[in-house]
């Protein structure tokens, strides 16, 4: 007997996406509602794929999000699955446990939420499938969480639903920590995990799979996002494929500009990277972060003209598609290690050395700290961390900006 099921996690419905810094209403609208569109895509794809059931492994809602209409939206979507005759099985994650909105939602009967008090086994006899799972009852769960999972059910396809950070090496906070070996000992056929936002097939024997979150929320959650489609034939898993369900795409394009001789070549390279991203997005709106890298004599010029260049790139982006947005331009290039340029004027001022010396003075660091403090003080509380975290680079940036602008003045740039 052959069937497929869909494994999703980390929907974080209505959790706001990071700001794009974009004034275009079309792009903004598409990103603003991308989260819900992705959930709708998940349900539609599940129905279209005639999946036998849908698994959601935690973090349906965002812990801090308080709007209960979000819960009703999710319940409505589950209602579509029920009408299509597809059951849904859910374990709550740390966010759901912290969330107020998931508490008493009118889920349809076909949606089953695993208990948080004990680990449960739900069997689907017609398919010979046994689902084992346990919800988070609170934001943090004890170390014996995994240990409470039931033993393998013989003669069934055993699937474990678990919200975990595994060993915590994937950069997410360590929830329900456990190891690959511990999971393997249960003898399940498929571990449907949630919590880590990057999709990953951690192991194929048994299958230990993170589907990743369903919609990228900021520039660090890049690339296709969605859910896993798992194909089962004769009681064995034969295929696990990621379905892209996201309704807007975040992307990052590192561009090595070291070989470029001038800015025109740099722009050509960037455009090529943009085209590649556009193709990968398959018609979705894109927010692309471009990072220039490599040692280049143009480094200071980039620093000095960053904003102009960013505007130009945005215009180029819109030329490619109406919703192709260059989220930001990061300059991570460096000036090439210089051979001492013989100054043609014996007593010409070594401005570079002068500026470097000034930048190294403790008074300058103090002044920077004051600048940061003055703007941080006026900023909304939740934004205060951001500029401070970039403070260390500020001194270098100020130096490169000055030198770049000075060079620009000599060249006669505006």
């Amino acid at each position: 007997m052959a069937f497929t099921f869909i494994h999703a996690a980390d929907l974080h419905i209505d959790s706001p996406l990071a700001g794009l810094g974009c004034k275009d209403p079309l792009v903004r609208e598409r990103f603003a509602h991308a989260g819900r569109r992705a959930v709708e895509n998940l349900v539609s794809e599940t129905i279209v794929a005639k999946a036998a059931f849908l698994l959601i492994c935690g973090d349906i809602f965002d812990g801090e999000w308080r709007d209960v209409s979000t819960g009703h939206f999710f319940a409505r979507e589950l209602g579509r699955l029920e009408r299509a005759g597809i059951p849904t099985f859910i374990v709550n994650g740390n966010h759901d446990a912290a969330s107020q909105i998931g508490k008493s939602l009118p889920y349809p009967e076909s949606a089953r939420v695993f208990s948080s008090r004990v680990a449960q086994t739900i069997t689907i006899d017609a398919l010979r499938v046994a689902l084992h799972g346990r919800s988070f009852g609170q934001r943090l769960v004890g170390g014996n969480f995994l240990a409470s999972y039931p033993a393998r059910r013989e003669g069934f396809l055993n699937i474990g639903l678990l919200h975990t950070a595994l060993d915590g090496s994937r950069g997410h906070e360590s929830y329900a920590p456990c190891t690959h070996e511990e999971l393997k000992r249960f003898g399940y056929d498929y571990w449907a995990l949630g919590h880590v936002h990057a999709a990953e097939i951690v192991s194929r024997d048994p299958y230990i799979v993170y589907p990743g979150n369903i919609q990228g929320r900021h520039a660090r959650e890049t690339g296709a996002k969605g859910a896993m489609r798992v194909t089962v034939e004769e009681g064995r898993i034969v295929d696990v494929t990621l379905l892209a369900l996201d309704a807007a795409r975040w992307a990052r394009a590192p561009v090595d500009v070291a070989p470029c001789r001038d800015e025109a070549e740099v722009v050509t390279r960037i455009e090529a990277a943009m085209r590649a991203e556009l193709e990968r997005s398959e018609g979705r709106p894109v927010a692309l972060r471009i990072t220039l890298q490599g040692a280049t004599p143009l480094h200071r010029r980039f620093v000095a003209q960053r904003e102009t260049l960013e505007e130009d790139l945005r215009a180029i982006g819109f030329r490619h598609a109406e919703d192709f947005w260059v989220e930001s331009l990061k300059i991570e290039t460096c000036a090439p290690t210089e051979k001492a340029i013989a100054l043609d004027e014996a007593d010409a001022l070594d401005v570079e050395a002068l500026i470097a010396g000034a930048a190294a003075e403790p008074e300058f660091s103090q002044a920077l700290a004051e600048l940061l403090a003055s703007i941080t003080e006026k900023s909304p509380r939740e934004l205060r961390g951001a500029p401070t975290s970039e403070a260390s680079a500020l001194a270098d940036e100020a130096r490169d900006l000055l030198l770049g602008l000075l060079a620009g003045q000599e060249r006669g740039d505006s």
């Binding site: 903004r28 308080r66 600048l371």
Partner: protein, 1151 residues
């Protein structure tokens, strides 16, 4: 480097002049009288080092390309070389043989110096020294930077810093300002945050909405149940009342059917056919009798009709003649008119013939020429006439043109010298904006005054008012978000209070209604209730029992009977009252129940209102506390939300106004400057100026003067052009006159041949020809009239004759008795007779057709009568009737039985319908439980209760609907995700602005640090060295130089006297100041790291007395220890004083 020998080979007035500078001298004094060539020598050194300038003024004696200046130069490391410089573009350095040098040995020495900087720093006149000195100190007194400004890169750095600072200021500053991008973004962020807060549907809000729905549903359910019970009871009573009479009717019909049971069983259809047959036979008999009478009447009528047959046969002919009659009558009346028209035409033609000299009309008609011929003659006449007129016109025109030319030539004024206005126009254009600027300045000033007073008014209009905008700016006001929070809190409380008040009002109204209802119901005396009836019945039953127990005792029997009687009367009274007053009693009981319910509801609502009031007081206290810091007494939060917006707007306007005032001051100054220039311009136009004129008027005056100038200029240009054009026109007019003359002659030659067809003589004039032509044109119309009238008269006469003949023939044949009448009258009489005969004929035909139809109907009737007779025979047999009367009676009873049967089945059907499908037995059983007399009252009471219930249900339904709608709206959400995204966007924007500002502010700060660092490492040694030099130059009058800081913390240079007194630069005497500038300049030169260039002063000491001159010379000599110092002077005493300097070798070079 030092110049050891300067060779002025060919330069200015010099030819092969060599100046030797002693290598070990500390100071070279070049002494030369005025005009001896000091300045030339100084310039020659410049030209040697930097090349000749493109335009030189030193070629007045030698040709440019032969100019040469050369030198022998010793470097600091002791190396010596010679060079020569020629004037040219490249390869201007030469060796001794005039060959270009491969390398430029001067380049490393000169470095980035230019001729200008050389003369500003190394080769100084006293004016340049002073200008340079002020330059060093000015620019806002920022000494450190100004001193550092000697480096191009540092200047660039400073410009950059200014630019970055300006850009950063546009983005952010510690003071909130709407013009700064940061605060605009911050506002958007706050707004988005507020929107998000409003958009979020909290769990509590949703739970409350769900509870409201559940409560409304429960209430609705309870009411539904009650309604169901009430309706069922009402229904049963109504049914009982409905079927009561129907059951009675059924009983009655069954009784009647028993009475008719003796009749034989007969089918309804058979009985119906018999009755119809009986009826049919009677009808047929009546119909036959009526037909017979009609037949006799028709026969009499036909016999009376008269018809003239021969006349009818001639009908077609008579009708044709009658149709022609109208035509004939018209011909007879027209004939005289036609004859008169022919006569008139003939007379006209005769008259025309006489005018042409012919005999009569016929002769005229014979000689009539063709239309083409007349056309030809006419053309010839026109041609000759036109040519003559044209000639006359051309002659007049030529004369007129000639006269005008003479006038123009006379009116031209003798050549006066006019000024071309074009250059003035260009200059005036430069002032084009001035009036509008002046106007703008005036408007701005008015606008400022107005805006200021408006702002003050705005501030005073605020309620509560802070007084002036300045006072407002100094107030500590709460945040908008706090006010918003209070606004919502008050709104919720107010809503709740309003809701409770409305509910209480509604309850009060209902209460009053019920009270009124009760009052009206009680007005007609005490209301009897069913309870009272029950009591009375129980009493009666007791009396009855009592009586039965007392039956044996006679006297007791009487008492007991009386008691029973009373009880019976009582029962009857109450029953009657209930029967008469059923509805009233029902309403009364119902109203009492409802009043009790309302009382309970009112108590709970009042409790809720009290609680609301308490919370409102609490909120008011908090609200006052929030405002206590500002010292204002706040109004309601909704008011204050608007207040704070208004206050912010006032503050913002105030800031804008302050900015705008600066712009206004700049504009005013610009206008003043332009006005001065414009005044000079107007003076040039020789216009007198009133200095009190407003600027616009001054500009208008300038423009008017210019326009006058332009008008004079263009008038002169116009006059010349007009004369030239008049000359050309005269020549053209003379040519046209000649052409016209030749045309007249041709026309006269063709004349005799042209007029021949008119029968005129050869020499006839134009006028004669035109007259003859006019007569010939008049002939065709009367000629045509004459011919056509003659023809018409003949045709009419023939028609009349033929008509009269035809009538005569008809009369003779058909009615000889009419022979004596005129033809027309006879024809009319014939027509009349014919019409009468035709009418009689038609009538006869109709009567005959009717006779035929009657016959056919009679046959049919007889046949139907036979059928009916057969049916009647079977009826007599079946019903045992002997004659038609008996038969009819039997049939009537039979009919009665059928009707009873029908009524019975209809009544049964009706009962099924009225009894809601219950069968007769069930209805009887139900009826047994009711008292028919009490039913109407009970139904009335139940009806009122049901109606009240329906009202309650409608109210509950509305509440349920509203509760559900509110809940569904919350479930659907208010796009909180969208609002959150807006907030994230605002945050991103804010961060971006912050980053932009940080980059710029940090870079500006770094630039400042670098400049400061440069000052510390470079400028401070400079000041230390300058201090020494200055102290030496003033012989200790000033001990040192110091740096003071002015109010703006900008460093300024001061001299410190022995006694510690600090003297700023403005406070120094001119000589001291020059010494200071020299000290600064020399110190700067000493600090240069590159190969030192010679210092050359040109008459630097002119303003100094001897003592001061000595000290300065000593100073320069001291400087000359490391570097070459050359001093040009024309004062011998300078050379003498220099020579007195001890322990320093002074080299005096004479020019």
């Amino acid at each position: 480097m030092k110049i050891e020998r300067l060779h002025l080979e060919r330069y200015g007035a010099f030819t092969n002049r060599v100046l030797e500078f002693q290598p070990d001298a500390r100071l070279h004094v070049v002494l030369g009288a005025n005009e001896a060539g000091k300045t030339s020598t100084l310039q020659a050194i410049g030209d040697l080092l930097f090349g000749f300038e493109r335009r030189t003024s030193y070629d007045f004696q030698h040709e440019q390309k032969s100019l040469r200046v050369g030198a022998q130069i010793r470097l600091a490391d002791g190396a010596v070389f010679s060079i020569r410089r020629r004037k040219g573009d490249k390869n201007t350095l030469l060796d001794a043989e005039d060959k270009p040098l491969a390398d430029d040995p001067l380049a490393p020495l000169v470095g980035s110096l230019t001729r200008e900087t050389f003369f500003a720093e190394f080769g100084l006149t006293s004016a340049a020294l002073r200008a340079g000195g002020f330059d060093l100190l000015k620019a806002g007194g920022r000494l450190a930077e100004t001193l550092a400004a000697s480096s191009a890169q540092l200047s660039a750095l400073m410009r950059l810093r200014a630019r970055l600072t300006e850009e950063a200021d546009g983005l952010f500053g510690p003071r909130r300002s709407a013009g700064k991008a940061f605060y605009a973004a911050l506002d958007r962020h706050e707004e988005a945050e507020k929107r998000l807060r409003d958009a979020i549907v909290t769990a509590d809000a949703f739970a409350a909405a769900e509870r409201a729905v559940a409560e409304a549903e429960a209430q609705r359910k309870t009411l539904d149940h009650e309604h169901h019970e009430l309706s069922r009871d009402l229904h049963r009573r109504e049914r009982a009342r409905r079927v009561w009479k129907k059951l009675d009717q059924l009983r009655r019909l069954r009784g009647e059917l028993v009475q008719l049971a003796d009749l034989p069983p007969v089918a309804r259809e058979a009985a119906k056919e018999w009755r119809e047959a009986l009826q049919l036979r009677t009808t047929i008999e009546d119909e036959l009798a009526r037909q017979q009478i009609e037949e006799m009447d028709a026969a009499e009528e036909i016999a009376a009709l008269k018809i003239d047959s021969p006349l009818v046969e001639m009908a077609a002919e008579i009708d044709a003649l009658r149709e022609r009659l109208g035509e004939i009558r018209k011909a007879e009346s027209d004939l005289p008119k036609r004859r008169e028209a022919a006569r008139v035409a003939r007379e006209q033609l005769d008259a025309l013939a006489r005018r042409l000299g012919l005999v009569d009309a016929d002769a005229l008609i014979a000689r009539q020429p063709s239309d083409a011929t007349i056309g030809g003659v006419e053309a010839a006449i026109e041609a000759r006439s036109d040519a003559e007129k044209r000639l006359l016109a051309e002659q007049e025109k030529a004369a007129e043109t000639e006269r005008r030319l003479q006038e123009l030539e006379q009116s031209r004024a003798p050549g006066e010298a006019l000024v071309d206005p074009a250059p003035f126009r260009q200059r005036l254009a430069a002032f084009a904006d001035l009036p509008s600027e002046a106007d703008r300045a005036r408007r701005d000033r008015l606008a400022f005054d107005h805006a200021e007073s408006e702002l003050l008014k705005d501030a005073q209009r605020l309620d509560p008012t802070p007084g002036t905008p300045e006072a407002l700016a100094s107030l500590a006001l709460p945040e908008g978000a706090q006010i918003e929070e209070f606004r919502r809190r008050f709104e919720i409380l107010q809503d709740a209070e309003q809701r409770e008040t409305q509910e209480l009002e509604r309850l009060a109204i209902s209460f009053a209604e019920i009270e009124e209802e009760l009052r009206v119901l009680s007005q007609a005396g005490e209301v009897k209730t069913r309870e009272q009836l029950s009591v009375a019945r129980r009493e009666r039953d007791a009396a009855m029992t009592h009586l039965s127990q007392q039956l044996d005792d006679v006297s007791a029997r009487r008492d007991a009977f009386e008691r029973l009687e009373t009880a019976n009367r009582n029962v009857d009274t109450i029953t009657n009252a209930l029967l008469d007053d059923g509805a009233r009693a029902a309403g009364y009981a119902n109203a009492i129940e409802r009043r009790e319910k309302l009382r309970q509801e009112r108590a709970s609502r009042e409790q809720a209102r009290k609680e609301g009031k308490r919370r409102r007081q609490e909120a008011s206290l908090d609200w006052r506390r929030l405002w206590s810091a500002s010292g204002l007494e706040p109004r309601l939060p909704a008011h204050m939300a608007q207040w704070i917006d208004d206050a912010r707007e006032i503050l913002q306007k105030r800031r804008h106004m302050q900015d705008a005032k600066l712009g206004f001051a700049a504009l005013t100054q610009k206008i003043e400057e332009n006005r001065a220039a414009l005044t000079a311009f107007v003076n040039k136009l020789d216009e007198a100026i009133d200095p009190a004129l407003p600027t616009e008027a001054l500009y208008r005056q300038a423009r008017a003067a210019l326009e006058r100038l332009e008008a004079g200029w263009s008038a002169a240009q116009g006059a010349a052009a007009r004369i030239e054009s008049a000359r050309l026109e005269l020549a053209r007019a003379r040519r046209q006159q000649e052409i016209a003359q030749s045309k007249v002659e041709t026309a006269r030659a063709d004349w005799p041949e042209a007029i021949a067809p008119l029968g005129l003589r050869e020499g006839a004039s134009l006028t004669e020809a035109r007259a003859a032509l006019a007569v010939w044109r008049a002939v065709p119309a009367p000629r045509l009239a004459l011919l056509s009238e003659r023809h018409r008269v003949e045709t009419m006469e023939t028609d009349i004759a033929s008509f009269e003949a035809a009538v005569d023939r008809l009369v003779a044949e058909a009615a000889p008795d009419l022979d004596s009448l005129l033809q027309r009258d006879a024809l009319m009489a014939l027509g009349k007779r014919l019409t009468e005969s035709k009418a009689a004929l038609t009538k006869r035909t109709t009567l005959e057709e009717k006779q035929q139809r009657r016959e056919e109907a009679r046959v049919k009737l007889l046949r139907r009568g036979d059928g009916a007779a057969k049916l009647l025979d079977s009826a007599y047999a079946a019903l045992g009737a002997a004659d038609p009367i008996a038969l009819r009676a039997r049939l009537d009873r039979l009919n009665l039985r059928f009707e009873c049967e029908s009524a019975l089945s209809a009544a049964q059907r009706d009962l099924v319908e009225s009894g809601d499908g219950l069968d007769e037995a069930a209805l009887h059983e139900e009826q047994a439980g009711f008292d028919f007399d009490a039913l109407p009252g009970e139904i009335e009471r139940a009806g009122i209760a049901v109606k009240n219930m329906i009202d309650d249900i409608a109210l509950a339904e509305t509440r349920l609907h509203e509760a559900r709608r509110a809940r569904d709206a919350l479930a659907k959400g208010r796009d909180a995700a969208g609002a959150a995204s807006e907030k994230a966007e605002a945050a991103a924007e804010l961060l971006e602005v912050s980053r932009r500002w940080l980059r710029r502010a940090a870079a500006a700060k770094l630039a400042s640090s670098a400049i400061e660092r440069h000052r510390r490492t470079t400028a401070d040694p400079l000041i230390a060295r300058a201090s020494d030099l200055f102290a030496a130059a003033t012989d200790g009058a000033f001990q040192t130089l110091g740096v003071d800081y002015d109010k703006a913390d900008a460093p300024t240079l001061v001299g410190l006297r022995e006694n510690g007194q600090r003297v700023d630069v403005e406070g120094m005497s001119e000589g001291t100041r020059d010494q200071l500038f020299l000290a600064l300049r020399l110190a700067l030169l000493e600090l240069r790291k590159a190969e030192p260039l010679p210092f050359i002063g040109d008459d630097l000491l002119a303003s100094f007395d001897e003592e001061r001159t000595r000290r300065v010379l000593e100073l320069i000599a001291q400087f000359g220890r490391e570097r070459q110092a050359i001093l040009f002077t024309h004062h011998r005493h300078v050379a003498d004083i220099a020579a007195q300097i001890v322990d320093a070798k002074i080299d005096v070079v004479r020019l």
